[in-house]
């Protein structure tokens, strides 16, 4: 209950928020609990986002994310908030230790995903909606981990967070690896198509890589982790051979960075349970 008080104290705007104390669920193993993690679904002002909140609640999205993150040995409170943002995005805010997931992000993913029963390039709608969304979530988890555990980040943090997402995606069963890697890659490809390539010099000044780069980075992390399982990335010509040749090394770099900088903060007993759980069922 203490986390609940803390999050309300942090912001009066959250007074009307539904705060949950991790209700028991058939799908969420009860031992995956972490008292430092709290979550809230903030009701949106915009009526069109109401159904998105309802769906997330019914699917216990934040309950699952909290359970998924429960092995983290956190130095302080950590908040997971789903809310309306007026933009399709997700953030980690280091000043209040909050991951904020915008309902508009889900709206965007559902918009760019293939139509039901009409796969695009072999990508199904379900795969993209689930995979892209999980990819975005664990990208933000990456930012949160870098901040909360004081992780040394020598490269660009946005790429590092994508690496974290790509790395975590392949730490579960093969189906999860495929769904999240492909769904996340699809999102960047779609974003690249919508936004076009950066053409002017100044467009390269963003702290994020270009959507097109992020697409290849995600493919590379998956292929580097398991070249057999993701062989189709090469066969279909998505990942050029020149890049593919270095992907095993890129994956190893992320794996070693994870082992040295994040793994020490993970409860080894709980992480086994997390890995055994089928999160996308």
């Amino acid at each position: 209950m203490i986390p609940m008080i803390r999050i309300v104290a942090l912001s009066a705007a959250f007074a009307a928020v539904i705060l949950a104390a991790q209700p028991a669920s058939a799908q969420i193993p009860p031992e995956l609990k972490n008292d430092k993690i709290s979550f809230a679904y903030v009701p949106p002002d915009s009526p069109k986002l109401q159904p998105i909140m309802e769906r997330l609640k019914n699917r216990q999205l934040l309950e699952k994310l909290a359970a998924f993150l429960s092995p983290l040995q956190l130095p302080h409170a950590f908040y997971l908030v789903a809310r309306e943002c007026k933009e399709p995005n997700a953030f980690y805010n280091p000043s209040n230790w909050r991951i904020e997931i915008c309902y508009e992000m889900i709206e965007l993913i559902e918009k760019v995903a293939p139509r039901p029963n009409n796969p695009v390039d072999g990508f199904t709608r379900d795969e993209v909606v689930v995979g892209a969304f999980v990819g975005v979530l664990i990208h933000e988890v990456g930012h949160a981990a870098f901040d909360m555990f004081n992780v040394p980040v020598f490269g660009r943090e946005e790429d590092a967070a994508d690496e974290m997402a790509g790395f975590l995606a392949v730490q579960f069963n093969k189906q999860v690896a495929r769904t999240v890697t492909r769904g996340f890659a699809y999102l960047w490809q779609a974003a690249g198509r919508m936004g076009g390539e950066p053409k002017e010099w100044a467009e390269y000044s963003d702290e994020h890589g270009a959507n097109q780069q992020r697409y290849y980075n995600v493919l590379c992390m998956g292929y580097g982790a398991d070249p057999q399982h993701f062989k189709d990335f090469i066969d279909k010509g998505w990942l050029p051979k020149e890049r593919a040749a270095g992907c095993a090394a890129e994956y190893q770099q992320a794996r070693q960075a994870f082992a040295k900088t994040v793994l020490p903060f993970i409860n080894q007993g709980l992480i086994k349970k997390v890995q055994e759980t089928d999160w996308l069922k």
Partner: protein, 276 residues
Amino acid sequence: MSAVMTALIGLLLASPASAQQLPAELQNPNVEIVYKEPRTAAFKPIAERVKQRRVLEQLRVFMAPLRLPRKLTVNVDECGAPMREYQPQGPVVICYEVIDKIEKIAAKADANVRERVLVGAFIQAAFHETAHAVFDILQIPVWGRANDAADRLAAFIMLNFGEDVAMQTILGTADFFRLSGRTWTGSEFAEANSPDAQRFFNYLCIAVGGAPKTFDFLVNPKEQDEQLLPDPRAERCQKEFEQVRMAFNLRIMPHVDPDILVKVRAIQWLLPINGR
């Protein structure tokens, strides 16, 4: 071209004075240096110049504070390309081709910045390649793309040797990327390295974050001048710099001998360009 050649003499890393007076006690016993003979005739004059200027000897003095657990070889060599990707266990290779490219790019630069392009871009290439070796030998965890990490470390080091070194190396590097770079298209985005345009902004950002007064003109230019670093990025740069500094202090500083570092920092590595 001959003007560039003349400019290069007396450049490459140090002023003529300090090049001849490398402090004998500042050595790194684990750094071995080799000037490989180029096969291509056109590179022979470059090879002569880098040897005469004792470029690798200077780099070895510069690396004196770094405690390495094993030998590291640094070569100048002909690569067949401007870069030879660092492989685990080394060596660090600075290619004759990159020096050639730097000279050609510098020749295109305005006369008043030619010198800093030659110096800055060469030091950038040397630091970038060395950074890869440091990550490897010291088993440093690297989050983010390795080439960007090497650039960020190189930029951070450039800021630690006084204002003149910072200005010449950062701006020379940025000029070089701007003059040689172009935007990308199609499958170029699949490359593991970053386009020159991104590298340009990455160097400027670390500079603005780490030395905001010195590099203020990049964000707040005089009226007629262009704003080289756009506001949305500039706002994040102090945080970017702090991130690199934290990473450096946590993972590299424990391998640095602080007393030797003070001596290396006391060397006047570059004469102020206007002071000649």
